[in-house]
Amino acid sequence: MADLKAMSYDLRKNVVDMIVEGKGGHIGGDMSVIDTLIALYFDAMNVGPENMDDPDRDRFVMSKGHCVEALYAVLAAKGFFPIEEVIANFSKFGSKYIGHPNNKLPGIEMNSGSLGHGLPVATGMALAGKMDARDYRVYTVMGDGELAEGSVWEGAMAASHYKLDNLCAVVDRNRLQISGNTEDVMAHDDLHERFKSFGWNVIDVADGNDIDQLIAAFAEAKTVKGKPTVLIANTVKGCGSSVMENKAAWHHKVPTAEEYEQIIKDFADRKGALS
């Protein structure tokens, strides 16, 4: 999947351009989650502009809605809307490209932004699929800091109780949240065991910024019956540029002109190193 890996750097640049143009955005989480979104939209899920109203399409809920820039970049690459329009208008007065997902835009199922909502909603979507005997799958991506929300665990409980093997959640485990290290803010290091104890199938993705590993994990999840699956994607916040990587300050920082230049150069270098 070298082409997807190469594309990930082009989409990263689109995200940075969006944030610079819009003067704000959650850049660090965008960089950690974007590979998961690419693996979903360009491999695991059967959804695109051509079947966005098909009742059998796979569903996606962006629970960590603050990383909408990464979602915009991936949806635009998928053809839902033009990327030039997003970059030019993101966060501007009156724009439809606002700072969290909004389902008035094509390709976005649910509005989000408040954390801890995605898993219960995705659980409802998966239940509907079971009730109607449809074979679509439902995906949601949560941040690791988000897991402190109690509603996440209400959803986890119900998804397991109803044996929703058509549901796959991802934890974007980048280990940083706005106040610092997740383990200092609220510890999650026993995440694997926690989900397991809730009755979930748990897949640890060693490098959650490796699209090949993500694609393999999503494929494995499809084979698991009788329980929902969660991917714990061990990612790097700010992944793609040494300027941002593993720095909590880049949770929602806008690059300066110098930083922008270095970030774009890093993207180009890493893309070049692929071939």
Binding site: V61, H117, V121, M125, A128, D132, G150, G155, M157
Partner: protein, 310 residues
């Protein structure tokens, strides 16, 4: 007196409609008994989802179901549904525009002596403040049935509050005039307009009879549709009267009284008196004892109307 609470009317309608509508789903948060929905759960288990005591999850799951074409009715005590899961009501239901009907059961002070944790005296204000959320407080079992049928026919979010106890009928099976989002005019008189919702409609109607005995003619509006408020009916009733009295089982701020006052103030200014629960934990007692204590009964409403007329 009728012994059938409004909540049972909801169950009856859903049990009838689910026979021909495969998309109806009822969800409860360990509340099927309180909601009178146990017969539905027993007879239609494939259309029933239990979430356990998890109101946020109840509403989130409902939104997900609705997004996939189902017609969820999420029933939970109004106190918890309207505040514990308020954010899910706001984001997952109203903002995402999902076809979820939220059923707040045992609303107001229905739970009586259980205290403020179990009273929902904020739900009208809270729900009305959310864009794209409609708020309904039907007055009796016949109107409740008509409302649920109407809600099944559209695909928009709504919050319905009902009480726990049986209330005396206002309408009959044969005579229950109902237009969606239009107040029902119970009687017309040119002295005072009594505008009430939910369980307060019956005492308001009885107050009109007490006033009539004194030669005071009242208009009574059953404003079951608190949002969207039937402004035309308010303006007409208030415009024809010398004073307006609103009555609601709710805190004194942000509910029916506030909304009616806004409309009257902007369109036909005159004295408006808001009868409501106090801005405090209410006194311990049954619903009736609480209503009597705060003057939310026929005598209290009539007295307030007379005082308003000076």
């Amino acid at each position: 007196m009728n012994k059938i609470p409004n909540r049972q009317a909801i169950c009856d309608v859903l049990m009838e409609k689910v026979k021909t509508d495969n998309d109806i789903v009822v969800l409860c948060s360990d509340s099927r008994g309180s909601a009178s929905l146990a017969p539905f759960a027993k007879e239609y288990p494939d259309h029933f989802i239990e979430t356990g005591i998890a109101e946020q999850n109840l509403v989130g799951i409902s939104a997900g179901l609705a997004k996939c074409g189902k017609k969820p009715f999420a029933a939970s005590p109004a106190c918890f549904l309207s505040t514990r899961s308020y954010e899910q009501c706001k984001v997952d239901v109203a903002y995402s525009n999902t076809n979820v009907t939220l059923i707040g059961i045992s609303g107001g002070v229905s739970y009586g002596a259980l205290g403020m944790s179990h009273h929902s005296a904020q739900d009208i204000a809270a729900m009305c403040a959310i864009p794209n959320m409609r708020v309904y407080l039907p007055s009796d079992r016949f109107q409740t049935a008509k409302l649920i049928e109407a809600l099944l026919a559209d695909e928009k979010p709504a919050y319905v509050r009902g009480g726990r106890n049986p209330v005396e009928d206002i309408y009959t099976e044969e005579n229950c005039p109902f237009e969606m989002d239009q107040a029902t005019v119970l009687c017309e008189g040119g002295d005072v307009a009594l505008i009430a919702c939910g369980e307060m409609v019956r005492p308001a109607y009885e107050a009109a009879k007490l006033l009539e005995e004194k030669g005071i003619h009242a208009t009574v509006l059953d404003m079951y549709c608190v949002k969207p408020l039937d402004k035309d009916a308010v303006i007409k009733a208030a415009g024809n009267a010398k004073a307006v009295v609103t009555v609601e089982e709710h805190a004194p701020f942000g509910g029916l009284g506030s909304m009616v006052s806004q409309v009257v103030g902007a369109n036909c200014p005159k004295k408006v008196v808001n009868l409501a629960l106090p801005d405090a934990p209410v006194i311990t007692g049954t619903s009736k004892e609480v209503f009597d204590y705060y003057g939310l009964n026929a005598e209290g409403i009539a007295k307030a109307a007379e005082e308003a007329l000076g």
